[in-house]
Amino acid sequence: MRRSQRRALTGYLFVLPAVLLFLMFLAIPLLYSAGISLFRWTGMSEATFVGLSNYSRLLTDRVFWLSMKATAVYAVMVIPATTAAALLAAIFVNQGLRGTNVFRSLIFIPVITSSVVIAVVWNFIYQGGEVGLLNAILRLVGLPGHIWMGDMLTALPAIAVIGVWSRFGWFSVLFLAGLQDIPVEQREAAEIDGASEWQAFWHVTLPLLRPTIALVMVLAAIQSFQVFDVVFIMTEGGPYYSTHVLGYYIWTEAFRGLRMGYASAMSYVLFGSIMIITFIQLRILRPAT
């Protein structure tokens, strides 16, 4: 065997285990899922080929549209709030004051916590009456309590708060990296030219952070489209479908309703939505040329 051939073989052997794992548990399932979406199948019985009718059925499925709506409303609440909170946190941590790194660690603790732990703890905090901590605190300052998770109007925002609270620390790390890439001279130059600190931030720092903002918003969008755990634990989609997000509908259709084909079709719609939203956001936030 020639030397170059032997080297090539070594290369293939090194990537082989990872590639096999990838093919077996990612690439093939991805195609398999597309196939399943063309069948009516309980997962056990004989599968019946139904063409694209799983997809066309989605158009008239009221619960599907309620799920799309809940997912979209959740995303619209979570994406800007998470981005803003992360940017704000990064700016304050980046002021170079003593001990600020401690705060960077503190806001990171929700990030490393299991979503199930988070859901169980917040479920307790949101309890109605005076049982929940939130209502108790409201009462301390003289405000009325509320049954947060039992009200169609407040259940989804309450879950969105958890989404922002548990993720902004992660994105603030990205913003911190972005901020530290900005040369100090640029801002100082602006301030010497008589710009106030606010103007320097608005006209110098923010435009330079544009790529980071785009990245954070795309990642926050991808994550918010996939929300599941917190809904599963806290509301099971209720009250009255107000928190019935797409990820939850896919799971219930597949593993409670045993409609594998229909659920697969929905999962492809979710995949497509994520790609479209990512593409649009990247276009809008593309660096000005």
């Binding site: 070594t10 997962g43 929700p110 299991s114 990296a177 996939q226």
Partner: protein
């Protein structure tokens, strides 16, 4: 003379003003940071505090942040009446198994993509990278069918393999290894070392920071994973902690003290991993190149 003192005084005043302004500014920054810190920690503090309360004292008003009579009753209930030790052990095995698989396969492939030359190298790499875009929802149903057919439902390896299949580890290790100079590896090759020896004796020890970063990210993700274990396990003794908690909260609805104790058991190990490897964790986020 008078003019000079005047000038000095003006300079002094502006210095004092600046100083005061700076002090006020620092105070404002600290205030915001402290508020953010409290917001981040308060739910965990409440969880911990509740886990040490008797059921009768749970709903006292005003809320008791420090239990007046702390009790271990909730933990005793958890350890005596549920299989929580088994769930913790399962979770630990899943965590270590996933992290080890990702680290070993990821650094082997990452090394090949960064330092070895073979036909189709870049096509294969970018093909794998495409997998980063696939949401897990799309894979759950076929993975479930596959794992059941392979007789791996209700096994820990059935939980581990699909979670370790993503290309993230390959990507992180390749990024890191690109920065290692070729000369170092060539020197070893000239000395007659086999490619695997180069990898094991030189590349792996040099990659310690990247391995620590990747390992921490993957371990915390695996420790906290929920939807896949939910789908692929049905037998009680195969549950991981997150799944066990989601079921306990249905079985023991209203026993908030016990629930908070269970949540604490799942929370503390992740916190310890994070505190020990914090530096690597943040580096891992930067290394993954997702900073743009």
């Amino acid at each position: 003379m008078a003019e000079i003192t005047q000038a000095v005084r003006i300079r002094d005043r502006s210095w004092v003003q600046r100083r005061v302004r700076f002090g006020a500014r620092a105070a404002a920054v600290y205030l915001v940071l402290i508020l953010m810190g409290i917001t981040s920690l308060l739910p965990f503090f409440w969880m911990l505090s509740t886990s040490f309360k008797e059921t009768e004292t749970l709903f006292e008003y005003p809320p008791q942040f420090i239990p007046a009579e702390p009790t271990l009753a909730n933990y005793a209930f958890l350890f005596n009446r549920t299989n929580i030790l088994r769930y913790t052990l399962n979770t630990a095995i899943v965590t270590l198994g996933t992290a080890a698989t990702v680290i070993i396969f990821g650094s082997m492939a990452g090394y090949a993509f960064a330092k070895l030359k073979f036909p189709g190298r870049n096509y294969i790499f970018f093909g794998l990278l495409g997998g980063l875009m696939v949401p897990f929802e799309v894979l759950i149903i076929p993975l479930f069918v596959l794992i059941v057919r392979m007789n791996m439902a209700n096994t820990l390896q059935g939980i581990i393999f699909p979670m370790a299949a993503g290309p993230f580890g390959i990507f992180v290790m390749r990024q890191y290894l690109l920065s290692i100079p070729d000369e170092l590896l060539d020197a070893a090759r000239v000395d007659g070392a086999k490619e695997f020896t180069v990898f094991w004796r030189i590349v792996m020890p040099m990659s310690k920071p990247a391995i620590a970063a990747l390992g921490t990210l993957i371990a915390i993700g695996a420790w906290n994973s929920f939807i896949w274990p939910l789908v692929v396990t049905s037998r009680e003794e195969m549950r991981v902690l997150t799944l066990a908690i989601s079921i306990l909260q249905l079985e023991y609805r209203g026993l908030y003290g016990t629930m908070m104790a269970a949540a604490t058991v799942a929370f503390v190990p992740a916190l310890i991993i994070f505190l020990l490897f914090q530096r690597y964790f943040v580096q891992g986020i930067a290394l993954s190149g997702i900073k743009g």
